[in-house]
Point group: D2
Chain length 348, copies 4
């Protein structure tokens, strides 16, 4: 999936270094972070252009990205000859239309999750990509590039602990907007675990259930926390504690339980403090320091075009399973997922 | 210290992306690793040329670096207009002459430690740089960029644990060449702790002593392990266990002891295994996985020209203190270091 | 250096030291361990008599217990004037009759779990104790005395983490008899978590569900592992991974999730090893080293008569909830527990 | 639920249970703790009598020890027929005379460390015990019974890590009386590490040195912390960080470095907390919770008369090495210890 046929030439002497010019749509927290990484920490990339409804914000990011061009129209950016590929970090509702425009323009696109908020929207992208005839879309499930998760998968795939049976996930944020619907915990947060579970075991989730304790008094009425129970095709049982008002910090952990042993991912920071009666390691306040390396590696991989990122099908499947979980949350019953079969473009 | 006046233009549309063309002298393990990082993982750099006495080895690295040019003469590489800066990863004894050539050519140079094996050699580089009038030399003490060490320093500098009093270092390699002189443990290995101690506290080491237990039966006669005792200008006491035949793996740790608490750097990997009666984290077999991120950040910082790396003076001082430690090892007595005063070019 | 030739008679010199003479019924692994603790590590107790269907085994334990008397009939032991209290460590099916005999004799009795295998059996003991008019029965849920669990409860009760919302339990044994029924995982093993959950939150479990992955190939057909989901009166959600063929070792852990933070019990051993590429802590092969201190403290507390141990009602409730879990396992549905109301004798 | 109205006389029914009546001299913090353990947590012991210059304090401890007799004269206690053995927890300066009186009375005695503050005092006890002809004296180096240290020694003696080369000790207290002499850190605190080092390797310390950083501003002029360097007969190198104003808590740790691996003793508590941005384990405020189990096991071992405790010779040797360390601290030079040869009574 090396996606750039023609690239900018850089370096007169070597004549061989190529730099992809990335157009960024959406320059909020995530878009600005990506612009910084593409400019400062990724090989073979530069920010070629940016668009944001807030032109001032776009201008600031452009200035900090080596003087990238500011576009007034996202479709003009997508279509510009000086833009080799597009990164979408705009609001969720706009993802579908921008991704479709990129596919129509034949340009590689990295879209932040979700690919689209609805399974119908995701399906339209699958159809467009099928019509195009090759994969152009990558979905920003960055955890697939986290050294902790890739280490976990390497241990599993290496047979070091035998056949997998269960996985316990914990996913906590310190605070969320009070009173958000309980479904948002699934579609915004636990969707990462849905993707990781599919990726880790290389198979679909077939059945889901959701259990909930009394909600935290800090949640403003949201059904928070929740415990999702997922079953995969081969019978692996995954549970996911999602808790978005956990107060104490941001934390993502899991333990894979297999026939001969278990693997735990907890990613402790490199230092610990002894102070005030405690021996402690610090926990981050949000997800960005925890997954900073994953974002960098995700972008580098996308620029390199090696195609290890989540496909449009993965984006569709994550949204599909999330919807099943929302239904299970609302009904209180186990739900069979009933995933459609994978299109030919995404097989093998 | 942004060192490139003229840079290659990359990206027609932006007109702003610059790529520094790096010449690499020495394409053994370290040089090849650096070439890979510059090609695949650093922003704004490419490998412009390589030299190695083993032309076949040089050719392989050049091919894996996007088709870099292979030079038959290191001085031709240094002088070539298509080379913006030079990275020296050749044998220790050759460092001095190549660094001097770079300074003569007015080109930025990153030299793997040691800057030179002798204090006299280091001093000649200081003189050359003084004559040149600005800093061109960076020494590859990569630990200064390790996220663990920078985190440790941030905690210290942030006043979280108060005034520092002691630091305990542990530095272990699984195996060394049997029968190497005991001094090699200091000049090759513990020299990293000498540099880190100076960097962490921002002051010189004034007195040293070395204690040794009976040597390991695995060391082939080498005085291994050793315990170095260092005192800094302000009275911080540092001890360094250096053990190059520790068998079980590679490990670098330290604990900083201060008036209100302590900070420990141990850098655990992100995952742990439960298997065969043990709950375990894996230790690496050598220093490269442990300091992979440090090397990448060191190179990115050097390419960015922000000047956070070790200077020629730091390279001189590390060699100077190492020599005092060797004298203390041989005499069994405490040695006063007697460091010369810092030249004007490296102050402030 | 055994220094006393002639020994003092307890109470003789001081007139104040009392020693309870304990009769032990069942001298298998658990009974023999208890005999050893009562003889060697508990204050104010001695083994006064033992009974076992295997008279030779009983004789061996008696000999190692300072020459305790061997009874040929368990009811004779219970009724003997030289026996102050009775410890029952015989096979599960015999618990009920021996406990009833102790109550009839008015003697304190510590019965290993389960109090009785059926809720009907447990109910008969409740009736007998009610008729007697005061509590004589303690059930051997030793985890209530484990320093880890009591520490966890102290943190919770001290308000350090706020109102509890969830608890995740992990309970693993290395191997079980192949092909045992899946219900045995609940009634023999997870019953400890059922008791601990009730004890920790001071309330009943009202609803249960059981999820199962594909079974481990090591389980010989047993549905192993299982994931129990429990809901308490106030809405705390507890999940229990029970896995009796986990291979790698014995392990009991939990994490309590509350509104302001979490508490994890993992009880690491005091030492760790670095060897062969690993930094590891050892895990025990079975539950006895893990809970050795809990057993000692449980016995000391029972001898002291302070009544902190599990009551007959706790024994009844644990069996009652376990039966609900077995029903949930078999039906695949959530089950409402429908616990009877607590008899007056056990209130307050 | 104290269930026995009438209690059995020990030995009456079984004729075999013996209870040693212990006389305690000194009922301060340590003496009161020992009285509690002997009464509540040790098998085969009771407190037969107590003496303290503060009669009220003695009376309180006696009352909490089952009504032990209060003696007005320590020598009367030692000589009383109702006292089988004596525990000395009085002020350091009085140890020698009480121990000598016990030896003269032919009674077993457990003396808190130090056996005597001076080597001369210790030597007089050795002479008295030699004259008596058998060992009566045990010195309260309780760490020899700590499960962490015994585990460490078992790993070493089991050959799991090969031949020992070094050991790094850390010993920290939160605060000490400001301005105490630097020698007190050695004789009061680090003396535990001196004893443990001798016990662990089964050999004498032959050479010592002391390094000191600038003192902590919290130490009121005391030379605190210090780094002791010890060499044993076989050439093991031990370093001891002793820091009595470490502020953050009480902590004792060590890492044994051997030819094939290392063993670390850090004794983490069974639970950890996630709260306020930290994942933390609590550290105790003083040594008593850390060594509670060691004290209990030490007392039980002493009551059992199995003789695993430190002998009078160990008490002498610890004081002897401590004096050499004090000399090294004062001179700033390495000191050869020059230990006398071990008397026949303590060999083998």
């Amino acid at each position: 999936m090396r996606f750039l046929a023609e690239v900018a030439q850089a370096g007169a002497a070597t004549g061989r270094h190529v730099v992809k010019r990335i157009g960024i749509i959406g320059t909020g927290i995530m878009g600005a972070d990506h612009a910084r990484l593409l400019t400062d920490a990724v090989s073979g990339a530069c920010v070629g252009g940016v668009f944001d409804p807030d032109a001032e914000r776009a201008g600031g990011v452009a200035a900090r990205s080596g003087g990238a061009r500011v576009f007034a129209d996202p479709y003009a950016l997508i279509g510009d000859d000086g833009i080799d590929a597009v990164l979408i970090a705009s609001s969720d509702a706009t993802h579908e239309e921008y991704v479709l425009a990129c596919v129509a323009a034949g340009k590689p696109v990295l879209c932040e999750k979700p690919l689209a908020p609805t399974t119908e929207g995701c399906a339209r992208i699958l159809e467009a990509e099928a019509a195009h005839g090759s994969r152009l879309v990558t979905v920003g499930f960055m955890r697939r590039f986290d050294p902790g998760y890739t280490d976990l998968k390497a241990v599993l795939d290496g047979g070091e602990v035998g056949i997998p049976l269960m996985i316990h996930h914990v996913h906590r944020n310190p605070a969320a907007v009070p009173g958000i619907p309980g479904s948002a915990l699934i579609t915004n947060s636990a969707v990462h675990e849905l993707d990781i579970t599919r990726w880790l075991f290389g198979e679909e989730i077939t059945e889901v259930a959701v259990h909930t304790p009394r909600p935290s008094g800090r949640a403003g009425g949201t059904r928070d926390p929740q415990l999702l129970i997922l079953t995969t095709e081969s019978g692996v049982l995954a549970d996911v504690e999602i808790f978005v008002n956990a107060r104490y910090g941001y934390e993502v952990r899991c333990e894979l339980v297999a026939e001969e042993g278990t693997v735990t991912l907890d990613a402790p920071p490199p230092t610990s403090l002894r102070r005030g009666g405690l021996h402690a390691r610090e926990l981050p306040a949000d997800w960005r320091p925890r997954f900073a390396e994953a974002y960098r590696l995700e972008l580098q991989d996308w620029i390199d075009g090696t195609g290890r990122g989540a496909t449009a099908w993965d984006g569709f499947a994550a949204t599909y399973v999330a919807q099943a979980c929302v239904a299970a949350l609302e009904s209180g019953e186990r739900h069979v997922v009933g995933m459609p079969s994978i299109p030919r473009l995404y097989r093998g």
